[in-house]
């Protein structure tokens, strides 16, 4: 544990709520995706903080070292990072297509266009 107590977890919660707030409050789709990324990264930080053992080194066997950090959560996050990248890629390509089809990526304008479409 760090001297500062639980502060990595405070940072994680702060980032997570920031991400969630951006997803909910922003109308611009790119900003929404950035919020989604912040949200995902916060959980990655949570795993990293969880695997860190105070005073531990990288988990490579060497003479004279007895305390290692837990490598498993760190390895898991490699997969989560890949998932995050893939999600961003799919999301951004959808945004490109939306921009081509509607001429805007502002959600309130998209909603307005769709409402007019429904009214017809």
């Amino acid at each position: 544990m760090f001297e500062g107590g639980l502060y990595p977890y405070w940072i994680f919660i702060f980032l997570m709520m920031t991400g969630l707030y951006v997803v909910i409050s922003r109308d611009n789709l790119i900003k929404k995706i950035i919020g989604l990324n912040i949200f995902q990264v916060s959980v990655i930080m949570f795993y990293i903080a969880m695997g860190k053992v105070h005073g531990g080194t990288a988990p490579i066997e060497a003479a004279g070292i007895t305390v290692y950090s837990n490598p498993l959560p760190h390895v898991l996050m490699l997969t989560a990072i890949v998932v995050g990248v893939a999600t961003s890629a799919v999301a951004l390509s959808l945004v490109v297509r939306i921009n081509e089809a509607y001429g805007t990526i502002e959600e309130d304008e998209l909603r307005e266009i769709e409402r007019e479409e429904d009214a017809e």
Partner: protein
């Protein structure tokens, strides 16, 4: 000697459920030819279905199958673990995948450019990989990985719809789905923090020793919210109607019958196998949250469905209601309640994919999914509309159909729990289903088509065959219930720790 061979083959089948569609998806991307990709996907899907049948038969006779991926033994390695519960879900998922795929070529011809077919089949197989993977795995982190594989491919599949609305629906689902997936990841991390393991069976043992502390309860809440989003449990369902309405018809039939079902399986697995009913319903009172939401879903979904002019959208809202029935069964925390929920998973997959395939056939022949445009179809597409009537009756819960069987167990579960009002509400909400199904039947059978209506012929046999397999199954399993109810009730007993 041959018995030994059968054992060696069968216990290795779970790995094949993941490896086969995953590798074939890559091959589909390479071969590029629409019909060749379809033929290849067909071979894979039907092989998966056959091996899921073999797995279920094996589990019934010999007990659980455990497969250590890469030879690394659990709890350290990744384990694929199959018991009666996921063997049943696997059979449903692969079966629907195979049947819907069989019906796909004509409908895809209409809605998607030929050049893109091979890629769409690759996505379809990837989605199938994710769904089968979530079902067979015994490792919690693996669940997240496969969840994202199936989710990402389904976002791409939904965006293939013909109108530009498919794009906005897809990104709406992507945002919601990613939030859900990340919540599940967070919950799994918290359990790992407490137990130090990712193996589901080992987690359950360790959590039993730890007892209900704050971290465990927050983990359950995070996982519950995450799965509820993927499951489209009211009021977290807002992505579902748009995604189902604007996706290509075949994709809708596929996703409606499989992806929410696997999410329901995950909810059952996490609550009953990992956290345990005492913790989920004693320490956290999850039933007090889930039951009102389930009942609200049953009524809100059916009620909104009544006022839809679009057949696809109507069926999508009906799905929201049917998910309510499944969750209601779970929240009763009794053998008959949970049996009802699991049987409804099986039954709803059959009837909803059947109804959506009927919708695909109507769209193929008339070019519209508006209920108004279906006037007179009862005479012009008699076989297609007859299948709609059969599956629709099942949706209402008429005896001799599967819908009746699942409602019977749900009502029994409610009465056994002493919740008479809930039993009455189940019956009342079925009446709402009667109204929205009747609206379609009335237009199709009792309204004359307008003078200038285009000439409409019966659906092609490639669509009609799968439709009638599903419609026939809703009747068959409504009479011979040993497969669905037998497996579901044995699984429910196992999950609740009650003897035979």
């Amino acid at each position: 000697m041959s018995g030994e061979l059968v054992e060696r083959v069968t216990t290795n089948l779970p790995a094949l459920q993941i490896a086969l569609p995953l590798l074939t998806a890559a091959v589909c991307m390479v071969i590029r030819r629409a019909r060749a990709a379809w033929a290849l996907a067909m071979v894979v899907a039907w092989t998966s279905f056959a091996s899921a049948g073999a797995i279920l038969a094996w589990v019934w006779r010999h007990g659980d199958i455990s497969y250590a991926e890469g030879g690394w033994q659990a709890p350290f390695g990744i384990e694929l673990h199959i018991d009666l519960l996921n063997a049943l879900v696997l059979l449903v998922v692969t079966g629907i995948c195979a049947i819907v795929l069989t019906a796909s070529p004509k409908s895809f011809d209409q809605e998607i450019w030929r050049e893109h077919h091979a890629k769409v089949y690759a996505l379809y197989l990837l989605c199938m990989t994710g769904l089968a993977g979530m079902t067979v795995t015994g490792d919690a982190f693996n669940v997240f990985v496969f969840l994202e594989i199936s989710s990402l491919s389904s976002y791409a599949l939904i965006s293939q719809g013909t109108t530009r609305r498919a794009l906005t629906s897809s990104i709406q689902y992507l945002v919601m789905g990613t939030l859900g997936g990340t919540f599940i990841l967070l919950g799994i991390g918290m359990i790992y923090m407490v137990t130090g393991t990712l193996n589901m069976a080992d987690m359950a043992v360790q959590l039993g020793a730890v007892g209900p502390n704050r971290t465990v309860l927050v983990a359950l809440a995070c996982i519950g919210i995450g799965i509820a989003i993927k499951l489209a449990l009211f009021p977290l369902h807002i992505w579902l109607p748009n995604a189902y309405t604007y996706a290509p018809a075949i994709v809708t039939a596929f996703l409606a019958a499989t992806s929410t079902k696997v999410a329901y399986y995950l909810l059952v697995r996490f609550i009953f196998s990992i956290f345990g009913a005492p913790l989920a319903f004693g320490a956290l009172r999850l039933d007090a949250v889930l039951m009102p939401l389930a009942i609200a879903a049953m009524f809100a979904g059916s009620f909104v469905a009544i006022f839809q002019d679009n057949l696809k959208r109507m069926l999508a809202y009906s799905s929201v209601a049917q998910i309510g029935y499944m969750v209601l069964g779970l929240s009763l925390v009794s053998v008959s309640g949970l049996t009802g929920g699991l049987v409804h998973l099986f039954n709803h997959a059959l009837m909803k994919s059947g109804l959506f395939l009927v919708m695909a056939a109507v769209l193929l022949r008339t070019g519209s999914v508006r209920i108004e445009a279906m006037a007179g179809l009862g005479r012009r597409m008699p076989w297609t509309m007859a299948a709609f009537v059969v599956a629709g009756l099942s949706m209402i819960g008429v005896p001799l159909t599967v819908g009746f069987v699942s409602k019977w167990y749900l009502v029994m579960g409610a009465i056994q729990a002493g919740l008479w009002p809930v039993a009455v509400l189940i019956l009342l909400s079925s009446l709402l289903a009667l109204i929205y199904i009747w609206r379609v039947i009335e237009v199709a059978y009792f309204r004359e088509p307008p003078e200038d209506a285009p000439e409409v012929t019966e659906a092609p046999i490639s669509l009609l065959g799968p439709i009638w397999v599903l419609a026939g199954a809703t009747v068959f399993f409504g009479i011979f219930t040993s497969l669905s109810v037998g497996t579901a009730s044995a699984a429910a007993r196992m999950l609740l720790g009650v003897g035979q």
